[in-house]
């Protein structure tokens, strides 16, 4: 569980600047400026001033779009990020192409139509964000998300995250065969991340409304490969590694 900081200065910087505080400042700033996002397919675009841009960067929400525009900056948010800001933090409004504000229910249905597994992936995303982890999409690693202790500039990512529905997962189809387990664990290992599965149980509530999310339950497990050639000598090492969920 220990963070791998990029240099000693990084750890100190992160301590002085806890993520919970940064996100809280972002939340306040978005509310104060009454920022609205523009829904465009699976992305939401927001136009922000320098202060907000800085907060978005530090809190790791969205990706900046480099444009020629001088006075404001544009950021592009993913579906999970958008919904977290709208529904969980209640600090962002989203406008559709018909210029009307989308309610949370409308956003929920819309995102589900774009990504059927959205309820599961959102629950996993918000579960980790809620605990002040930095969560970004992890497509390039073949997983759903990557989770960091703090800003990626300060720390190497600890976990590669897969959001899995409990039980019958026709939605997701990951890790249903051993070859996928081998493949995913190996890939994660080659990029120095531990595979974390966040198992979301909808408890039979379906996904008609975002209010269902409250009653979803979540279980976290790490999947790691054990090499018997390596652990023979050290009984205590084996126990500690098992406790930390490394092996």
């Amino acid at each position: 569980m220990k963070a791998r900081w990029k240099g000693k200065a990084s750890e100190a910087k992160a301590s002085a600047d806890p993520m919970s505080k940064i996100v809280s400042q972002l939340q306040s700033s978005l509310i104060d400026t009454g920022t609205c996002g523009l829904l465009s397919s699976c992305s939401v675009l927001i136009e922000v001033d320098d202060e907000l841009a800085d907060l978005l960067n530090r809190a790791c929400f969205g990706r900046p779009r480099i444009t020629a525009q001088k006075d404001k900056q544009w950021f592009q948010l993913d579906m999970e990020e958008t919904f977290y800001l709208c529904f969980s933090l209640k600090c962002l409004k989203v406008i559709g192409e018909d210029v009307s504000t989308k309610s949370n229910e409308e956003l929920w249905e819309y995102f589900k139509s774009k990504k059927p597994v959205f309820p599961i992936s959102y629950k996993a995303y918000s579960h980790l964000r809620h605990k002040n982890w930095v969560v970004r999409l992890g497509l390039q690693y073949g997983v759903d998300f990557v989770a960091y202790h703090h800003h990626p500039a300060l720390v190497h990512s600890k976990y590669a995250v897969l959001a899995l529905p409990e039980g019958d997962n026709d939605l997701n189809g990951r890790l249903r065969v051993w070859s996928d387990v081998h493949c995913t664990v190996r890939l994660c290992g080659s990029v120095a991340k531990t595979l974390l599965i966040v198992i979301v149980n909808s408890n039979g509530l379906g996904s008609n409304s975002p209010s269902c999310l409250e009653h979803y339950t979540v279980e976290e497990r790490t999947i790691t490969r054990w090499n018997p050639e390596q652990s023979r000598e050290d009984q205590r090492g084996l126990q500690n590694q098992t406790k930390e969920g490394i092996i």
Binding site: M1, S15, P18, M19, S20, L128, K131, N132, W133, A147, H149, H150, Y159, E166, G167, L175, R176, V177, W178, V181, H182, V185, L196, I199, E219, E220, R221, T222, I223, T224, R225, W226, N227, P228, E229, S231, R232, E233, D234, Q235, L238, Q239, T242, G245, I247
Partner: protein, 266 residues
Amino acid sequence: MAVVSLYLKIGKVVQTMRSTLKTGTRTMMKRIATHPGPYPVYNLDISKARWIDDLAMAEVVEKKGKMWVTMGIVRNGNTYCSIEETLFLVEIGALHVLDGNDIHLSLKELYEKLSDGKSGCDWELFEVYRHLKSLGYVVGRHGVPWSVKGQKIKSGTCSLESSQESNELLEPEQENKNSIMELFDNMQITEVAPAFHVYLPNSKFRKSSPGDPSFILCMSRGGPPSRVEIEAVERKHGAIPLKFCHVENGRVSFFSFAKVELPVLP
């Protein structure tokens, strides 16, 4: 010429295995190297056992070497080997097995016993067993106590499905009732079952007081275990770590699916 090339081949095998074997079996491999085949070699260094069909185990009649500290179960002063232990020792030339009529049982006949399913083990489980044993781990069948004082060996001891708890003071009747119920339980709920309990190679292992294993190894057939299946096994075994193994094309891999809880960060 044939003898010399066989000699060299064996020497190479011994060299590669030498670095990975525990002392007892290492010494045994050395002895094989100095005795070109065919095997078995009737010399003073090979242990002897008699296969008993009713028990699906081999009763050891002559012990040689240090391996008996970590192999075989003890009942009423006698030592008995499961099919996987027997096969492992025969494969490395450390054991000579006879049948009920004192006739030598070949490796072929022992592989057949493994395949007929009556000995509570199968090829995949044997591959896992051999893989860990060759690396020096101490491996026992889950649910089968290493030693039980004053109790004769029962037939069905080696049935893998009867997941008896490793309790040395079980009443025989109670044991049978529990094992039948557990057999049904396991078959209905899950295909994932604990197979072996494993101790690290350099632990000071004693059959009389083995202590808790370093981990319990489950075989998950078909696909990876589901959360429900993992939890069912975890519930039964509390604090002892679990590992899941998978065998395909002779490759044995081990995975942990440890429950964690990421901390709330500042």
